[in-house]
Symmetry: D2
Subunit: 302 residues, 4 copies
């Protein structure tokens, strides 16, 4: 089977290699020359334009998008005129599922099939395989199964056709919401261990022991143990936590569906908070306390 | 009626004056010479020792404690041997209600009555009157009613005998838990107004307009409007919010009673968070994201 | 000054009366005959169609919309073709501020001015006056000041021109977010008092005493005291709390602006939770506990 | 090596078997005849009294307590007079670490060593091994290493001496706090999938696919997948979630240490909430809404 990989960033480059290693013939494209060169050096064929990519592939073509969610629309706009009826576009990135539903409509107008594939696994996927949550029509998804078998940790597990178009990215969105909550739970727990000066606990040791037989063992714990082993005091790391869109979408979706999801929601808010500088909320609280109780206000330097 | 006021800090000094203004004869004591001098200058009799205070009062004596919660036990220990059966001790400070219950027992061993009086009103109480939540035996509380009438905003309102010993401080504790939640709600709302650069809102104006006819009008809003009028950008105020014990006790009590109180609880946690420096939780999150996704870590300066 | 009031539900009917009582000549319209009849019986002129309303008013006309947010667009669509350049539409309901901004554009295409007016006060507004947060162009808002003076608690307070179109509904949205948080704080506190069987507290008494001199005094507390006086055990009231859109918009806006607003957010989620029946989240937790610990699952009747 | 196991409930019985299978000679005691009989039938020697247990063991004796936390003190009181200097007591249950510290002192008065061992693994520990977090003096813990090697998943991992007495139960307490947060995150996510009727998602399928290659793979997810496979709609399970003490202790400890742990805290509160019937908080909210807005109250049947 052949596939054109559009987007050769960290994720796309690794996936191209894993596919190729799994017997899929991959041609890659990325607008960046350096990205192309790096993937080319790994033995993956690369081309310098979407036109060249489309021409290099046998019909019906399979194009896999692995680009930032904000350029998916622009990419589709450039790509669709080049495609033929029966071609398939897979969006393997972190797109919002409602946009995926709309994009399927736009593809259908060109008689091009659309599949949304939520992809988890991060930088470890190349080696361990990716978890794939796939949305689309049954026949289309079936036709792509060799790709999913090559990308997943094993041919028979780690990938699933979970529903119609949109269902793949929806499942991935919820997956990331859960991820936020789990990460926050671990981080709070380790912070508590760290603060308990009385016991002088070795956090890396505790993370390691929990990996074996405990209720909280997980892959995120494996990674935490690794991070703490390398840098036990987490020196030099700023307390600044980014978020990508999936957490926000999950919180918004939960409210739309009237599902209270307090822990996932708070996990997102804590990330926002980590990036706040000179919180107005807290200054307002300090000002109020001063007003009613005459409590001293701590002066800021600024 | 006469009363001995023990503790002439901000609260005790103001209360002594309000009582005196209300026709109660007050003798004050504070270990600090300066505190005594300041209150003396306001026309309140002061003495320099607990012994002198006890001797200055006619039996049965009424001693009102207005001292930090952590010195209540020491004060009682020094005071009780000086008292006579039938004397009354009122703890008007922010003590934990369970300690008040124990202290009532200790007083009873000396045939001294104990009353716990939760006192709200802050620095405005001198002028506007204090809200008093009183726990104790019916007969004892009744005997003290002239004091409560003088301290409250009016003789017939703003004070109440709410239950047995402990009930006063319990009610005050819950009052403060509510206060935390209200303050946090306002502060979050003002922060949202402030962040909406598109509208260049005048927060003091909005606080002022809300004071008249809106659902959120309150005394805390009056104070907020005042604070924002004086310092619209809250310049020079550090985003650092202290907490006194009542919030912690409320959270703990709610859990003990199996009552979920998420908003009061979060309001306390936000105060803890405001005082965190270089949060380990957030560094742990950043480290995990780097481990699984290769996401860049922001380096700290330190 | 004259005004056409569109929408004679609970809010619109009361506002028409207050305006009329304040010297404004009001003509009302509502599609419901009963609503028209009730307002007519209070001495307000009513008409049976938008056409009749527009014809009844002198140019330049002022039309005040007091309709559910989901019918604002349909109402505008019917209304705009009837209006003339220089007329003004005020949306006094709980619309989303971004829709108000779009509607101003649609009005502008007809040379009709648009003003968004966030209105607080509920059923008490007729008697106590409404709090009005107004967005729009300076000249337009100024021209309407007699209306605002009549609606507000007093001519010189309780109303404010807070910014350009959208700013009025934005401020009202945040106001309601704060309201959610305050209500939840009080409700949690009263639940805690209620659960403390040891003290057999009289909640109405405590609510009443807090109204005088305490830090938590507010209009919501006044109403709480009234509710508890009438029904101390809140008998016959289902633990079911509706939410209108403003809370959801506030939470969404806060996340969009990267402002963590945990207490306002949790207050919304608690309302969602109050309406859940047979929570899947909780059943999943019970199932997990059973899986790892063999903990007994409580069987449901269903 | 020999060991006396006190408490042959679910955990104690399984641990006795795993120890025996690992070459440790175990004698078991439980006050319940049935518990003794069941363990006896598995080939573990059992005795009918603490006296018999102590006599059956060679000095220096090792006694492992696996009893409910609330009977640890009573058990120790009965046991300590029977022991000799140099004997060791291990508390393998879920005790509060501060009580463990006090108990070590009580044991020391008898020249008996005390070790606190946090034990995770639930009903799966018999087969997969237990995760053990151990607090105590170095020499004492070292002497017990054959026991830990037999109980852990492997001789060289899954157990660790994490610090002085108390550190074992402290680490286990934090472990359980994290567990609460992780469970809540998963449960919220699955509830969101379940509520999305549009996609008719198969939750067991999604749980299964996440187990392979995803960021959220974990042992709790393995169990969740199993639970959903057996009972996809979680029929017959009441939305009622118990909590044991560790979550409460974790929340309390976090506040004592000034560490904000919002997700762990909320996870506990959600469990309290799951057990609420006719929430007073929610009735209070409904009553307030009715007061200010005339919003209809939903009547309860009761």
């Amino acid at each position: 089977m052949e596939l054109g990989m559009i987007g050769l960033g960290r994720m796309g480059a690794n996936m191209a290699q894993r596919l190729q290693g799994g017997g899929i013939r991959v041609t890659g494209f990325d607008p960046g020359e350096q990205a192309r060169a790096q993937v080319g050096a790994k033995g993956v064929a690369v081309v310098a334009s979407l036109q060249a990519l489309v021409q290099a592939l046998p019909a019906p073509r399979v194009l896999w998008l692995m680009v930032p969610s904000k350029v998916v629309d622009a990419t589709l706009e450039a790509l669709l005129p080049l495609l033929s009826p029966g071609d398939v576009v897979v969006d393997g990135g972190n797109s919002w599922y409602r946009e995926s539903q709309q994009r399927a409509g736009r593809c259908a107008a060109h008689q091009v099939d659309f599949v949304d594939c939520g992809t988890s696994g991060g930088v470890w996927g190349l080696q361990e395989g990716y978890c794939l949550m796939i949305g689309g029509e049954q026949a289309v998804v079936s036709g792509l199964s060799p790709l999913f078998q090559a990308l997943a940790p094993a041919a028979d597990r780690g990938w699933a056709h979970v529903g119609p178009v949109g269902a793949g990215h929806f499942s991935k969105m919820v997956h990331n919401g859960i991820e936020y909550g789990m990460m926050q739970a671990y981080a709070e727990g380790f912070a508590l261990l760290e603060k308990k000066a009385e016991f002088a606990l070795d956090l890396a040791q505790i993370a390691e022991v929990w990996r074996h037989g405990s209720v909280v063992r997980s892959w995120l714990l494996d990674l935490s143990a690794d991070a703490l082993r390398q840098n036990p005091a987490l020196d030099g790391i700023a307390p600044y936590v980014e978020d990508s869109g999936e957490g926000r979408w999950t919180v918004s979706e939960a409210i739309d569906l009237d599902v209270p999801a307090p822990v996932i929601t708070l996990s997102l808010l804590e990330r926002l908070r980590s990036r706040e500088d000179n919180s107005f909320t807290d200054r307002m609280l300090a000002a109020m306390r001063n007003e009613f109780g005459g409590h001293a206000i701590k002066r800021s330097d600024g």
